[in-house]
Every structure is written in structure tokens, then in C-alpha cells.
């Protein structure tokens, strides 16, 4: 019965291949995607409008800031949903028979991780702050920061990591990230512009209109980074311990 599913899959594949004949050649600068006025405007005017050298960060945080805000909200909702599904699903204190292990955290691993985790966190801050000039930005920095907490949870145990970043603080940090993002947008609205029109922030900051967009982008990326950090760690903590927040990998 399941082998019947091969037929629609092959049909769809054949249709896609048939459509692929009309695609432009790979790398052709005259293809419609590359010639479009929107992309040309982004490439040409990003320096003039925002003075940010990294076009991708400028488009992500400024020209398309609304998309990014709702993407952060989606990440937040996913974290909350995982929390809601797994909380109190298993009795606290019950351990599976095959998960009982008598080993202490290993000496070499813990000492190496003790040296490396601060470096990872500083690198995460660097990636976040330098996202205007090099590849990077809010998401990448946030994920690296969350990964540093996951590394602590993997080398010692989950309780050690949760002692440093408890679950209720995770939720507060995640919500603070979204409030920061929306707050910058609302502030621009109260100052007379549209929602997320960062140039209006030049009325409160002592910089020019272009540099106001530059600095507001940094604020917005910090908001995104906070939410992503908290949710990545919350995702790992709940999934590896089935919601009990003890034991785990």
C-alpha cells in the first residue's frame, strides 16, 4: 500500500523537471530574480539609507523588519508550545530503567568545557554585535549563546545548567526579547513615524537619521538574540528530560 505513494511522488517530480527546463541558467546575471528592481535597489541604496555594510542584515532588520519580528514570535510560540506539551507529562522523579547510569561527570570533559564556554559566549556577543559588518547578526549570535548553555548541560548534567538559567528566567528573557523589538517599533511610532520606522529615533538620539537606523538595528538584533537564546535552551532542556527538568542526556 505504501508503495503506491511512489506514483504521486514520481508524478510531482516529473512535473517539476518539466518546469525546470524553463529556468534560467545557473548564475545568469540577466535572470529575472537578479534583474528585479527590488534587489537592485537593496544593493545600491543600502549604504546611502542605513550606512550598514552588510546588505543581508540591513534588509533583514530594517527593510523587512516586520517579517523578522513575527519570525521571532514564531520561535517564542514554538518554545511555549513545547513547554505546554511536555510539562507534567511524566511523574517527577521517575527514571526509565535503561537510563540509570552511575558515572560522575568526566574530569577531562568538565575542565575543558570550563575553559571553553566563556570563549563561546564572548564569540556569541561578537557575532551579534558585528553582524552589521560581517556575516552574523541576531539569530546566529543567539543560537551560539544557547549552544553554550546546552554544552554545560551535556558535560555536567541538566541540573547544573538549570541552576544557571532556570526555566522561568528563560521564559522571561524570551518575552523580553520580543518586547524590546516591538518596543523599538512602538517608540518610532510615538515619535511620529510609522511602526518600525527607525529614522524617527533621530529625535531622541543625538545622531543623524541614517545612523539612527544603524543603532536601532543593533537594538533589534539584541532583542532577537535574547529570544533565540532562551528558546533554544528551553527546547533542549524540555526535550531531553521529557518535561521533568531533571535527568536527561
Amino acid at each position: 500500500m505504501k508503495s503506491l505513494s511512489l506514483i504521486p511522488v514520481l508524478l510531482v517530480g516529473f512535473l517539476l523537471v518539466f518546469a525546470a527546463q524553463d529556468f534560467p541558467e545557473w548564475g545568469n546575471p540577466q535572470s529575472p530574480a537578479s534583474k528585479s528592481p527590488v534587489s537592485s535597489h537593496f544593493i545600491a541604496e543600502t549604504g546611502v539609507d542605513t550606512e550598514v555594510p552588510n546588505m543581508v542584515t540591513a534588509v533583514l532588520a530594517d527593510y523587512r523588519g516586520f517579517d523578522t519580528m513575527f519570525e521571532t514570535v514564531v520561535v517564542f510560540i514554538a518554545g511555549m508550545a513545547v513547554l505546554a506539551i511536555l510539562k507534567n507529562s511524566v511523574k517527577k522523579g521517575s527514571v526509565r530503567f535503561d537510563h540509570i547510569v552511575d558515572v560522575e561527570p568526566d574530569l577531562i570533559v568538565t575542565n575543558t568545557v570550563r575553559l571553553i564556554v566563556p570563549v563561546i559566549q564572548i564569540f556569541a556577543f561578537y557575532v551579534l554585535a558585528h553582524g552589521h559588518v560581517s556575516p552574523g547578526g541576531g539569530f546566529q549570535g543567539g543560537v551560539l549563546m544557547g549552544a553554550s548553555f546546552i554544552l554545560v548541560a551535556l558535560s555536567w548534567d541538566l541540573e547544573t545548567a538549570l541552576a544557571r538559567f532556570p526555566m522561568n528566567r528563560c521564559i522571561i528573557v524570551a518575552a523580553a526579547g520580543i518586547i524590546l523589538y516591538g518596543g523599538i517599533g512602538l517608540l518610532s511610532m510615538f515619535l511620529g513615524g510609522e511602526f518600525l520606522d527607525y529614522a524617527e529615533l533621530a529625535k531622541v538620539l543625538p545622531v543623524s537619521r541614517e545612523m539612527a537606523r544603524y543603532h536601532a538595528m543593533l537594538g533589534v538584533e539584541i532583542g532577537v538574540g535574547l529570544t533565540v537564546t532562551a528558546i533554544m535552551f528551553a527546547l533542549y532542556a524540555n526535550l531531553s528530560s521529557e518535561g521533568k527538568l531533571e535527568g536527561g542526556l
Binding site: P29, V48, P53, N54, V56, V74
Partner: protein
């Protein structure tokens, strides 16, 4: 009329990469439909998502173009800007030297949403395992049908001859199933 040679040339020599993207999409789609194990279905979903992202990023490629970060000579804080007293908009030939940043931006969002979806789907899988004890689709279907049969029996009206007996069955284990581990 199409000639076979033309089609083969078009498909296999110039657009080979699109063919491989289609193959990846089909692998992911088939895995989502036909695999028995829930985790394999989720891996298929992830393969499907990343293959679409690969396709999108590849249409933003320009031959001999550099990455979408300003080179030092076009930098808004660089020498050309200082000479002109402010950042200068790029000309058309210079624009053609940079890769298209728009697909990159859209796909950044797609990647992050993909990992959020994967996390949520894995939480649901764990819950299913706690409730039913298996993550194979055929065994799950058998268990679900058995449960459906049991609830249908509960709802059938009892015949008149046994009216003296209590007709209300106590709520079955069904209601408390999520809290108990099956094994």
C-alpha cells in the same frame, strides 16, 4: 517540435543542479508519506525544507559575483564616501558584481522557522510515545482502532432486558490514559 538532443542538453548539461534539487525534494516527500517510523518522517520533512532553501539560494547566484557585503571601495564609511562627503549609491555595473541578498534574507527566516517546527514535532512525538508506547505508524493505527472500537461499545444503548443493571459504565481508562505510561 522538441528534439531529444535539445532536451537532454538543456536538462543534463546546463541545468543539472535543478535536477538534483528535484531529486532531493522527491526523497523528502516520499519519506514523509511512506516511512513507518515517526522520526524518519520528521527527518524527511527536514530534508524537504532544506532542499527548498537550497533551491531558493541558488537562484540568487550571479556568475563572478561576490558576497553581499560591501567591498572596501564601496563601503559607506570608506574612502569613496569620505571624498564625496557621504555614502554614494552604486551604479548598475557595480550592482551586478554583488550576489542578490533578497533570497538570503527570506531563507534565514525559513531556516529558523524550520528548526522551531522540528522542535515542536519532536515534543509531540515524545508525547505520543508516552501515551501509546510505540512510534511506528502501523502499530499506532492498530492501537487507535482498538480504542475507537472500545469507545463505540461504550456509547451503544444497553437492551431493555437488563435495565435493572446500571447502564452507566464508569469512564474507562481512556480519560486517564495520558497520565499513565504504557508498558
Amino acid at each position: 517540435m522538441f528534439e531529444l538532443g535539445d532536451i537532454l542538453n538543456d536538462l543534463f548539461l546546463e541545468r543539472l543542479n535543478y535536477l538534483i534539487y528535484v531529486v532531493l525534494l522527491m526523497i523528502g516527500l516520499h519519506a514523509m508519506i511512506a516511512k513507518n517510523n515517526l522520526i524518519k518522517k520528521l527527518i524527511g520533512m527536514s530534508i524537504f525544507q532544506t532542499a527548498i532553501i537550497l533551491f531558493y539560494v541558488s537562484i540568487g547566484v550571479k556568475a563572478d559575483a561576490t558576497i553581499p557585503i560591501y567591498l572596501p571601495e564601496h563601503d559607506p564609511h570608506g574612502e569613496r564616501a569620505e571624498e564625496a562627503g557621504g555614502p554614494v549609491a552604486l551604479s548598475v555595473t557595480e550592482v551586478a558584481g554583488y550576489a542578490n541578498p533578497l533570497p538570503h534574507v527570506l531563507m534565514l527566516t525559513a531556516i529558523v522557522v524550520g528548526v522551531a517546527t522540528l522542535g515542536l514535532a519532536l515534543a509531540l512525538t515524545q508525547r505520543i510515545y508516552q501515551g501509546y508506547g510505540t512510534i511506528e505508524e502501523d502499530q499506532l493505527l492498530v492501537k487507535l482502532e482498538r480504542e475507537d472500537g472500545r469507545t463505540r461499545k461504550d456509547e451503544q444503548p444497553v437492551p431493555d432486558a437488563t435495565k435493572s443493571k446500571s447502564t452507566k459504565k464508569t469512564p474507562t481508562k481512556r480519560a486517564s490514559k495520558p497520565a499513565s505510561k504504557k508498558k
